[in-house]
């Protein structure tokens, strides 16, 4: 049989080439799929045609991923260490080779197939990223910047106008660039992703408007939100100031300039480099920055660049950062004569140059955007289209489309209706919903769906094409309502068809409520950017716009309060005022006293200058300060400046910040007191941490420990015939569920501290559901089958209790089938500033996943900065510079079980339901865990006190598993393995779902049912402590997000100690059994990025099928 994948790959006709992948592979068995997959792998590695390589790159992983579910239940092999290391080090082709050899040797299994799928997927995106990178470097107008090797070859000079001044005691003129941001009015299905535009330029189109912006109620009127100020200074250095982020640095070496990741100035640095002022080819050369500046400016001179973003919060989906980069670039291109006019607007070829350099800058700075993002550089409304690569283009022969699209201005009265600007402004409301989001995975998923020509996505794309025409018609006729209908339709239909994950319960509720309240006056929703939740828009009847604005803000605030426990918010929602920008980026040269920088710049610099020795301060800085404070033109702003400076000098960041800190300290103390915090034990932990008795390296078992894969006899398999045994136990009321929900799920929200258990993560059974809703629904189904209500306990911690209580109360109020009860744990462990030793062990000694070179540089610089932070803040001291809930951690899920004894929940449950003898314990993110009678029967049949469920390992599973440790079967944590790669040898992965027999478990604590009810809390605490001290203490480094400014966030590594549930299996007096269960039952959703995979491989469907929602 021929290989349809190969045919599709090589087809020249679009009918064959654009066939959907799913249709080609449907109903094929694993061996056939594997043969096809191998042939595609061979084809990809031998072809020179890059287009084929890209397509093949996308087909391979999906073909391999398609095989994986068919192998779910096949006993799994082990992942070759060489393949694992090659993957970590981004040598994807090598990883693929090792994996294919392993498959040839040991046969196809789930572990290898999933690893192959992952390696091929990563190789695919690497191919695509390389393609863009090549095009960026080959982009006309920028190639020379990669060839300058010596300052004497620098072709640029700063224009003489910037060096002209009235006298030696006068300021040099200031060049001020003002730049709007862009709003994407069409959302044509992410067609501005570079990969899409470069592969299918015909379909890449957007309509994008340059807008001036202000925050409603805060700013007097909308204006271009971005400003870049450039000026020559009499010091041979580069002074970069990002005034909004409160950061400024004097750069005196090239090395400092090229270190992009160690501060908040990366965008400014990338701008300086991408402008050619200091070209990228000078990175790593031994030249002095002053020598380069001398060449550019003359002896003894330097340049100062300051940016202002008018407090527009992050995540606005208005491409603020790309347009800020555009603004910096426009100013520097003017200053160096690469743009013709020093003042006013740019010409079309210059705007294109800015856009191309912005792409280069984003690549250098390790970030990325879409090709429409620098739209603010252009004026007004424009249609932006992909361009097919023609002979002579650097992209020709590499990709089908060019890197840069073409912009067609749509002018009122000509291409669009003359009244459109007014009508649009009177109807559209732009706002920020406040959510913190990571759009990166979305863009990757969209690309993949496109490359596979997925049927649903292809149909949705056709629909988006139709809606795009509708929007264009609306623009032409000045019919805003028609535009609104189209954008609303696309959000409700086509966009979600491509990717359901772009919306959230929060956004859907806000829209539904507003639509309900406004009725006909609600014209439509407008999604901006990669996903909804941050910056968004709605169209309303102009006659009711004011009312809509007031209601929108009120609804946003209410819904944010309702959702912020489970969803990550970076800020309070707000509404923008906006205006149609007619100029694009534009500049003005200011001289004499008008060249004085704005007061907020001085508020940043004055306190630093005050601490300097006067003799070291350059004379011109004094001249400028005099202008800014004492002379007529500065007087108006002087009080504000004084206030800001005093706040900085005498309070850490002003009175509000001080008050907040005091409040947080008090809250922390009261939380600790409430949890019965043991200060003495904490100090013991601290000294152990500081002395290195506990730490990342000490987590590991001794090197001489023998670790081996388990024997077949160590695992019990499920017997479908025993179902009735389990069902009878359920009917008899012998079983309860315990969901472990004490942690916040650091990976889930990148350390932002939301409660994962209540996060509405996906639409299941027709509506958005949280993890807890899903688990209750599974218990409900089991209750219906058992014909009796079932108890469902939820273990909470001080971090999660209140928010889970608020979430579950309305869900289960009076539920006749699920009797839910919370079981709070009081375990609490203040987090520490990490030991540099531990950071080194984690980041430098353990095998690390390499990133692509630019991102790697960013990460390395960032890590260096974080190590300095740890040193400066005091290693091993309490981590305090954050909100209380980020300063403290629950001490690991091992504590959530004995908490049942301590808080009296188990005692009262046993009193209520004496037949109860087994607890089914599972983690909150284990989607498929339920009271399956067959599994229960296997546990009962084992006669063990504790049965852990294990599933075949896939390559992405990390966290240890079942092993023979010195000859005895037990669970072992990955962080406790003497060597990292030992984990690859353990074929069974533990999802931490377990069945516990209550009586032997009580006996472990020298308790029984009677004593549990009779003993005092203190006595029980003592017994619990005695057992818990026998479990190992691990030190973990976790991410803690610190929010500041306008939706900015920094992530700090913090150290915490924890004890883990799996280690109960090491206690000799508890008899443990290990049950081999289906993969989907143990599937854990640790990261929102996995949702899509789980939707496709059936894991979500598996869970949904086991649930009964209401």
């Amino acid at each position: 049989m021929t290989n349809p994948l190969l045919e599709t790959l090589r087809a020249t006709s679009s009918a064959l080439r654009d066939r959907a992948f799913e249709a080609l592979v449907a109903d094929q068995d694993a061996p056939t799929l594997w043969r096809w997959c191998e042939e595609v792998l061979d084809a990809a590695s031998t072809t020179d045609n890059l287009y084929e390589r890209v397509r093949a790159a996308a087909l391979r992983p999906r073909a391999a991923a398609h095989i994986v579910p068919t192998l779910h239940e096949r006993p799994c092999g082990k992942l070759p260490a060489r393949a694992h290391h090659a993957l970590l080090e981004r040598r994807f082709d090598e990883a693929l080779r090792h994996l294919r050899e392993a498959i040839a040797r040991q046969g196809l299994d789930g572990t290898l197939a999933s690893a192959l799928a992952e390696a091929a997927h990563r190789a695919a995106f690497q191919t695509l990223a390389d393609q863009v990178r090549r095009s960026v470097r080959a982009s006309r107008g920028s190639q020379w910047m990669f060839r300058v090797g010596d300052p004497s070859e620098l072709p640029l000079r700063v224009r003489p106008e910037l060096l002209r001044r009235a006298g030696a005691r006068e300021l040099f003129p200031a060049l001020v660039e003002r730049t709007p941001v862009r709003a994407d009015l069409s959302h044509a299905g992410w067609s501005d992703i570079f990969f899409l535009g470069m592969d299918y330029p015909e379909a890449a189109q957007v309509i994008n408007l340059s807008v001036d912006l202000g925050v409603h109620g805060r700013d007097p009127e909308p204006r271009p939100p971005i400003e870049t100020w450039v000026r020559v200074i009499e010091e041979p250095l580069l002074r970069l100031s990002c005034v909004d982020l409160g950061e400024s640095k004097d750069l005196r070496s090239l090395e400092e300039l090229f270190r992009f990741g160690d501060d908040h100035l990366s965008l400014l640095k990338a701008g300086v480099v991408a402008s050619g002022l200091i070209p990228p080819s000078l990175e790593g050369t031994p030249h002095a920055l002053s020598a380069v500046l001398e060449r550019l400016l003359g002896p003894g001179l330097g340049l100062e660049i300051a940016t202002f973003v008018r407090d527009i919060p992050k995540g606005s989906r208005l491409a603020v950062s790309t347009n800020l980069l555009g603004s910096i670039l426009a100013a520097l291109l003017r200053a160096t004569g690469q743009a013709r006019a020093l003042e006013g607007e740019l010409e079309e070829d210059e705007r294109r140059l800015v856009a191309a350099r912005a792409i280069l800058g984003e690549w250098l700075g390790g970030s990325g955007g879409g090709w429409q993002d620098s739209g603010g550089v252009w004026p007004g409304l424009k249609r932006i289209n992909g361009v097919a690569a023609a002979p002579g283009d650097p992209e020709h022969g590499i990709s089908r489309g060019c890197l840069l699209p073409r912009h067609h201005l749509l002018r009122p009265g000509l291409e669009i209706h003359s009244e459109l600007p007014r009508r649009l402004q009177e109807s559209l409301l732009l706002f920020h919903g406040g959510m913190a989001q990571n759009v990166g995975p979305i863009l990757e998923l969209v690309t993949e769906r496109y490359l596979l020509r997925e049927e649903r996505a292809t149909r949705a794309r056709e629909e988006l094409g139709r809606l795009f025409a509708e929007i264009e018609a609306g623009l032409r006729d000045g019919d805003v309502r028609r535009i609104a209908r189209a954008t609303d339709d696309s959000f409700r239909g086509a966009l979600r068809e491509i990717l359901p994950w772009i919306a959230s319960r929060y956004v859907d509720r806000v829209i539904a409520r507003l639509r309900g309240e406004l009725g006909d006056a609600f014209w439509g929703f407008q999604m901006l950017g990669g996903m909804a939740g941050g910056g968004m828009g709605i169209y309303v009847d102009p006659a009711r716009r004011e009312e809509a604005r007031v209601r929108l803000l009120a609804i946003l605030r209410e819904e944010k309060r309702a959702h912020e426990g489970g969803s990550s918010f970076a800020m309070e929602p707000l509404i923008y005022d906006f205006a149609w920008n007619q100029r694009g980026t534009a500049a003005e040269l200011r001289s004499g006293s008008a060249a004085v920088f704005p007061w907020r710049y001085h508020a940043l610099h004055l306190p630093r200058l005050a601490r300097e020795e006067p003799a070291r301060v350059a004379p011109l800085r004094g001249v400028e300060l005099l202008h800014a404070t004492a002379r007529e033109e500065g007087v108006a702003d002087a009080p504000r400046l004084l206030q800001a400076v005093v706040a900085q000098l005498f309070g850490s960041g002003g009175g509000d910040a001080q008050e907040q800190r005091v409040r947080w300290d008090a809250e922390t103390r009261s939380l600790l007191a409430h949890c019965g915090f043991d200060a003495e034990q904490h100090e013991q932990v601290r000294s152990a941490l500081r002395e290195g008795r506990i730490g990342i390296a000490r987590n590991r078992l001794p090197a001489e420990t023998s670790i081996a894969p388990p024997r077949p006899s160590d695992l019990r398999t499920l017997e479908p015939g025993s179902r009735e045994l389990g069902a009878a136990a359920l009917r008899a009321g012998e079983v309860a569920v315990l969901t472990l929900a004490g942690g916040v799920g650091s990976r889930w929200s990148g350390g932002s501290g939301v409660v994962k258990a209540i996060a509405p993560f996906a639409k299941l059974g027709g509506d958005w559901r949280s993890f807890l809703e899903l688990h209750f629904a599974k218990t409900r189904r089991a209750a219906r089958q058992a014909g009796r209500p079932l108890p469902h306990l939820v273990a909470t911690s001080f971090l999660t209790h209140e928010r889970i209580a608020a979430h579950t109360a309305p869900l289960l109020d009076g539920d006749p089938e699920v009797r839910a009860q919370l079981s709070p744990s009081r375990a609490i462990a203040p987090r520490f500033v990490p030991m540099v030793r531990d950071l080194v062990a984690l980041w430098e000694e353990a095998p690390q996943e390499l990133l692509d070179p630019e991102k790697q540089k960013m990460r390395d610089a960032g890590r260096k900065a974080l190590m300095s932070w740890a040193r400066a803040s005091g290693e091993g001291s309490d981590y305090q510079d954050n909100v209380p809930l980020q300063r403290l951690a629950p001490a690991g899920h091992a504590y959530e079980l004995p908490a049942l004894l301590q808080n009296g929940v188990l005692a009262s449950l046993l009193a209520e339901q004496p037949a109860l003898r087994t607890l089914f314990v599972h983690n909150v993110d284990t989607l498929g865990a339920d009271l399956d009678p067959v599994v229960l029967a296997a546990h009962r049949a084992s006669g063990a006190a504790l049965s852990f469920e294990l599933s075949p390992r896939r390559s992405e599973d990390r966290g240890g598993g079942l092993a023979l440790v010195n000859g005895r079967a037990r669970l072992v944590e990955a962080l406790a393995l003497p060597r990292e790669e030992l984990e690859l040898e353990l074929p069974w992965y533990s999802s931490m779902s377990a069945w516990i027999e209550i009586d032997p478990f009580l006996a472990l604590f020298e308790l029984d049912r009677a004593r549990l009810g009779a003993l005092s809390r203190k006595e029980i605490d003592a017994r619990v402590r005695a057992v818990m001290q026998r479990l190992p203490t691990y030190v973990a480094i976790k991410d803690a997000k610190r929010r500041w400014g306008h939706a900015q966030e920094d992530v700090f590594p913090v150290a915490q100690w924890e004890r883990l549930f799996g280690d109960f299996s090491a206690l000799p007096e508890l008899r443990c059994a290990y049950l081999a269960v289906p993969r989907a039952r143990g599937q854990q959703l640790k990261d929102p990025g996995l949702l899509d995979l789980y939707a496709q491989d059936g894991s979500l469907g598996y869970a949904e099928a086991r649930a009964a929602f209401a």
């Binding site: 020379w144 060839r147 640029l156 050619g276 291109l333 004569g337």
Partner: protein, 317 residues
């Protein structure tokens, strides 16, 4: 086509040659020529033109320069005869000077309005004939021992029967100093290009977007060599530009010609020395000396000078 006329622009003062360049026109600065005789720069340039077959010269000068030029040339001829009596080489040199003077017309550029404006002043001189255009402050040293740069260009123009601009492939970091062109190779013989676009002193970024010519090494552009054979058609765009108020550039006029009519360029084998550039005077003299009749003496002199230098940094002797 026969090129009988040459225009040499010599109105500019050498800012970088101050203070010596202040009272003296740049073109009057003395240099040791390849034939071993010390001459004013203008004479060296003019002789290059004559060697290319030119019969009449126009020198564009600043107001008041003409009598000085004439007086100095006549004075030098007189001095040669007075000092060396009937020595043959002196008599030859004096005769050459007087011949040169007789062939030269001085045209005054009343106001400094750019290179194109200077060229425009010689419109009457050129009348309806093609002419060789040279810069009064540049020297051209040919890689061809037999054929000077001007002669190469004139011969190519006569062969092609059309205007030709001399161009040279130039490393990219230097192009912001020169008029730069985008061109396509014409015919199978080397050296001839059809010009499509001309931009004066472009930024590199703009050059990459608009001025890349196929067939050059990466990072190289075709730049004007400062030497052209032009036909009177050039005067029309110059005249139009002069009606405005700003500077009148030759490159802009050539750009118009390249788009509206046709413009060709010829790649020359030689080097140019800008006397007014950075260390230009010294560099020009060294280049002349090392390519001339007294090359060995000049080399020996350089070595001696180096050897006699005090070691840098003192202690490292």
């Amino acid at each position: 086509m026969q090129v009988r006329k040459a225009i040499i622009t010599a109105a500019a003062r050498g800012v970088r040659l101050y203070p010596a360049g202040d009272p003296v026109e740049k073109s009057s600065l003395p240099l040791l020529d390849q034939d071993g005789v010390v001459k004013p720069l203008l004479q060296i340039v003019a002789e290059e033109a004559l060697r290319a077959g030119v019969e009449e010269l126009a020198v564009i000068c600043a107001p008041g320069d003409e009598p000085r030029y004439r007086e100095r040339f006549a004075q030098r001829a007189r001095s040669l005869r007075e000092a060396f009596g009937d020595v043959e080489w002196a008599e030859q040199q004096a005769a050459r000077l007087l011949d040169l003077l007789a062939r030269t017309r001085f045209v005054v550029q009343e106001e400094a309005r750019g290179y194109g404006h200077a060229v425009l002043q010689a419109r009457d001189f050129a009348a309806d004939e093609p002419f060789l255009l040279l810069l009064g402050d540049h020297l051209y040293l040919s890689h061809d021992r037999e054929l000077g740069c001007a002669a190469q260009l004139v011969r190519a123009a006569e062969r092609a029967g059309r205007s030709l601009c001399a161009v040279q492939a130039t490393r990219e970091h230097l192009i912001p100093r020169y008029g730069t062109v985008r061109a396509e190779r014409e015919g199978s013989q080397g050296g001839l290009w059809r010009v499509r676009r001309v931009i004066e002193k472009p930024s590199l970024s703009r050059a990459e977007l608009e001025l890349q010519s196929n067939g050059l090494r990466a990072g190289h552009y075709l730049c004007f060599f400062g030497m052209h054979v032009l036909e009177p058609a050039i005067f029309e765009p110059l005249e139009e530009a002069a009606h405005g108020s700003g500077e009148v550039g030759l490159s802009e006029a050539l750009d118009r010609l390249s788009r509206e009519q046709a413009l060709y360029a010829h790649e020359l084998a030689g080097v140019r020395c800008d006397v007014g550039g950075n260390l230009g005077y010294l560099r020009t003299q060294l280049a002349l000396g090392l390519s001339g009749a007294r090359r060995d003496e000049v080399l020996a002199l350089l070595v001696e000078t180096l050897a006699a230098q005090a070691p840098l940094g003192g202690e490292r002797a």
